[in-house]
């Protein structure tokens, strides 16, 4: 019967191995490519180390107890003692988990605040519109717009301003950092940064119905010079984004191709979704931006 404990150890072991050997390229979350993802990665590792202690203690104790105290033909007349309480032990197994929780809580809080700190370098701003089921990226400074892919300069923070037309999506690029919801009627902000040029997978991570599985995009990080060059070229060569075209794009439906435009949509289209909230915002003081 002690097999069970071993089976359990066996299942947890590959996980440990994966982490230790660094064979993690396919495991996107464990392969951070930017400072945001890295700080989250560090927290994940730290939390895993802490819970690994717990797992080991419980599994070892469990296995030993099962081997040592199982009923065997030769101990059938053993009558277990009647102890019921042992305050010393109970305090130990209350305090130690508590300390582990503290050890996890401190970096958690630090990183939670740290991620919201203003980056030292002025970020470039990209507006993201999650429409069902495609991603639209607007570069207000460059005056261009792309769909289902986004170019960013490497080594530089990017502030994504997150909006949605109808449903609540979640904007997630695992290798660059954790996700955030994009909500209709409310703008969110997420700063990400890529260390070096490369392509990273992005996806929607909050269920929005039929075409949800197809709502993916690519992040293409480039050297800043290349990024500028790309932006200039796009501005010069891509077609204009007309109002009709934009309306067509945001209509519900799967759209997996990449589109590129040399002009941007008018924010008021998205704002019109928000108009009611805006009006009411005036009277309730909630809106403080």
């Amino acid at each position: 019967m002690t097999k069970k404990g071993l089976v359990k150890l066996g299942t947890i072991f590959p996980f440990l191995l994966l982490l230790l050997t660094g064979c993690t390229e396919k495991i996107e979350v464990l392969d951070p490519q930017g400072p945001v993802a890295r700080s989250q990665y560090n927290l994940i590792l730290w939390s895993f180390a802490l819970v690994a202690i717990v797992l080991i203690v419980v599994f070892v104790a469990f296995t030993i107890i099962l081997i040592r105290y199982r009923e065997r033909p030769d101990n059938m007349d053993y009558e277990p003692p009647e102890t019921q309480e042992n305050s010393k032990l109970e305090i130990i197994w209350t305090v130690i988990p508590f300390l582990i929780v503290v050890a996890l809580a401190i970096p958690t809080v630090q990183i939670t605040y740290g991620l919201e700190k203003k980056p030292e370098q002025e970020p470039i701003r990209i507006q993201v519109v999650a429409a069902d089921w495609k991603w639209i990226f607007k570069y207000p400074e460059q005056g261009i717009e792309t769909v289902n892919y986004v170019h960013i300069p490497a080594g530089q923070p990017v502030e994504f301003q997150l909006d949605a037309t109808e449903n609540m999506n979640s904007f997630w690029v695992p290798k660059l950092g954790g996700q955030e919801y994009t909500m209709p009627g409310h703008t969110g902000y997420l700063v990400l940064q890529a260390d070096k040029p490369g392509e990273y997978d992005g996806k929607s991570n909050n269920f929005t119905g039929e075409g949800f599985a197809h709502m993916k995009f690519k992040v293409i990080a480039q050297e800043p010079e290349d990024f500028d060059k790309w932006a200039r070229e796009t501005k010069a060569t891509a077609p204009k984004l007309t109002d009709e075209k934009f309306q067509e794009i945001i209509k519900k439906g799967v759209l997996e191709e990449r589109l590129t435009f040399s002009s941007t949509h008018d924010d008021s289209v998205i704002q019109s979704v928000h108009q009611y909230r805006k009006k009411s915002g005036e009277s309730n003081g909630h809106q403080q931006h």
């Binding site: 419980v58 107890i65 929780v101």
Partner: protein, 641 residues
């Protein structure tokens, strides 16, 4: 509404379901008629207010729902076995995971715990029934009406497909225009009201109907877990009631609570849903903890270690469970203050849960551990649940959760806690208390086979999902194209099939044992029972206790046996019992009609049903039935004295 809109059409699976439903109904009617069992069904089951029978009906319903939810699970696993599968379309897949999640939690886990509570808790405290037997029956029939309503969505009108969390705006009338979402709302609403009533019922039962001498601290651990669970139910379910009602108003009457236009706030749905939803997961797991406590001490032949600490830790879990809900939407962007607060409160739950784990280990330490089937499930619970629990703590670290949220890592977490906690617990309880109700044990050898298939399959299914999550696989996708994910997904599917086999073995085990297992009718079939239910005959007579014993200590049966005393003794007296009533059953049916009318917006159906409900309640209010007495002769005959 046209007929072909009313009945779901166009899919072979649906037609198969239609056919099987019709066939099942015909078969049931035929069998009942052939064996002339209609009257028996009515007098013995449909009108019963006996907690034991109600408990058995709950468990039966739960097993059925587990079968349907499990089939849903298997279908999903087949679709996800390899990249680009064409087995299910998106629309279908979405309906299936929605019904899977809802069924498993609301219509499998909840009735299962209510079943266990009903059969065991009154016996453990020496009561003849629950505080309000009539209401107890009504709770069951409300649950049943809700479950039926939710299940028929598959063939009539269409299933909900916005996830068991039913987030707005996706679940709004604009984005989910069909009736599926209405089924979700009314199915949950009806059974939720039943659950609330049960919660009050159990609380009063425990507070007022304990055997003399049984102080709160001398109460068995399962009963304690029921008490604390009931508290959570009473204070969490009203939140669900309101949330569902408001979404119903939004969908049917054009209000603007969760809509984007009109100034509504979709985020408030998430907020209310999880204010109920998080306590809900502890509602389903705490009774399982209670069962584990009983089983561990019975089969280690040792008193439960740290009774007091076990109670305190459950109380702590209950309070904490109400202040952690935001961990389900850390990624909403509520800022560091909110996220930090809820991260810490969530992590703190690990401490009382840990106390429980270590106390179970300490109970086994120096014990004499017998590997019976209930004990096997309990033993498997400990390491598996700890895996699920510690990954929960990993999720609780907000910035890390930005990476895990809505990925398969999360799916892994909650199946580890839900299955290792709730399902293992309920199966353990089923095996443990079975002989008490039927006078024979379920076959141990078959039970062990079922256990190993299920346990290994379970690990194979859900462990790879943690890694899939870290690889970036989102939940609720009906297909993927990434070939890197295929190996682990295939493993997971194979595991799911193994679980299915395990489940079938367990069902066969029940069938076989009902037919062939030797009847022993022992009061204490496990030879080590400690709490009051093991002092009375098996199967339990309908009045439970011929005489109510005086309690002086914890585990009275165990110590009485050791000292060679007779616990249940003294002169017999006539026993007062509540009368059966058909009203709860009928009310349940009317509620079904009421809900069904609402689903389709047919007010010509809703209004008469509502009036009928009021009339039933008035009838009940004017009904001065006092129950009846069981006379001493009859008791003597049943007890064989």
């Amino acid at each position: 509404m046209r007929l072909d809109e009313f009945f779901v059409t166009g899919d072979p699976m649906i037609y198969a379901a239609d056919v099987s439903i019709v066939l099942t109904i015909i078969a049931i009617v035929a069998v009942l008629t052939y064996f002339k069992k209609w009257k028996w069904l009515w007098t013995e089951w449909l009108t019963t207010v006996d907690h034991k029978k109600i408990g058995i009906m709950y468990i039966l319903a739960a097993l059925l729902m587990m079968f349907r939810g499990g089939v849903d699970g298997l279908l999903m696993r087949i679709q996800l076995a390899a990249p680009d599968m064409k087995f299910l379309e998106s629309e279908h897949y979405n309906q299936i995971f929605t019904t899977h999640g809802t069924l498993m939690i609301i219509f499998m886990a909840m009735p299962f715990i209510f079943g266990m509570i009903n059969i065991a808790m009154p016996l453990q405290i020496g009561a003849r029934d629950v505080a309000y037997p009539w209401l107890n029956a009504l709770s069951f029939w409300l649950f049943f009406a809700g479950a039926m309503l939710f299940n028929i969505s598959f063939v009539i009108g269409g299933s909900p497909d916005a996830g068991w969390t039913s987030y707005t705006p996706l679940a709004s009338i604009e984005h989910s225009p069909g009736v599926g979402q209405n089924y979700y709302l009314w199915g949950l609403q009806l059974s939720g009201i039943g659950s609330l009533a049960s919660g009050i019922n159990f609380m009063v039962t425990i507070l007022r109907m304990r055997a003399p001498g049984m102080t709160l601290m001398k109460m068995p651990m399962f009963t304690w877990s029921v008490f604390i669970t009931s508290i959570i139910i009473v204070y969490a379910f009203p939140i669900l009631t309101v949330a569902l009602a408001l979404l119903t108003f939004d969908r049917m009457f054009g209000t603007h609570f969760f809509t984007v236009d009109g100034g509504g706030m979709p985020m408030m749905w998430l907020n209310l849903f999880w204010m109920w939803g998080h306590p809900e997961v502890y509602i389903v797991v705490l009774p399982a903890f209670g069962i584990f406590s009983e089983v561990v001490s019975t089969f280690s032949r040792r008193r439960l270690f740290g009774h007091h600490a076990m109670v305190m830790s459950m109380a702590a879990i209950a309070v904490l469970s109400f202040i952690v809900w935001v961990h389900h939407f850390f990624t909403m962007g509520a800022g560091p203050a909110v996220n930090s607060f809820f991260s810490i409160s969530t992590m703190l739950i690990a401490v009382p849960t840990g106390v429980k784990i270590f106390n179970w280990l300490a109970t086994m330490y120096k014990g004499r551990i017998r590997f019976t089937v209930p004990m096997l499930w309990t033993l498997a619970f400990i390491p598996n649940f700890v895996i699920g629990g510690v990954t929960g703590v990993m999720l609780a670290a907000a910035p890390a959760d930005y990476q895990y949220h809505n990925s398969y890592f999360l799916v892994g977490h909650f199946h580890y806690v839900l299955i290792a906690g709730v399902v293992f617990g309920m199966i353990a309880g089923l095996y443990y208390w079975w002989p008490k109700f039927f006078g024979f044990k379920l076959n141990e050898r078959q039970g062990k086979h079922g256990f190993w298939w299920f346990m290994i399959g379970f690990n194979l299914t859900f462990f790879p999902q943690y890694i899939l999550g870290l690889m970036g696989m989102p939940r609720r996708i009906y297909m993927y194209t990434n070939a890197d994910w295929s190996l682990l997904n295939m493993t997971s599917t194979i595991g799911a099939v193994m679980q299915g086999i395990g489940f079938l073995i367990i069902c066969y085990n029940i069938y076989w044992s009902v037919r062939y297992a030797p009847r022993t009718n022992e009061a204490d079939p496990w030879d080590g029972g400690r709490t009051l239910e093991w002092a009375i005959p098996s199967p339990v007579p309908y009045y439970n206790f011929s005489r109510v014993p005086e309690i002086k200590e914890l585990d009275p049966v165990w110590y009485a046996k050791k000292r060679g005393e007779k616990l249940i003794d003294g002169p017999l007296e006539k026993i007062h019992m509540p009368s059966n009533s058909g009203v709860p059953f009928i009310l349940g049916q009317i509620f079904f009609v009421f809900g069904f009318g609402f689903v389709f917006g047919w007010f010509w159906m809703v209004i008469p049903a509502f009036i009928a409900i009021l009339l039933c309640m008035a009838w009940r209010s004017f009904d001065y039935d006092d129950g009846y007495y069981v006379n001493v002769e009859e008791i003597k005959e049943i007890e064989g004295v």
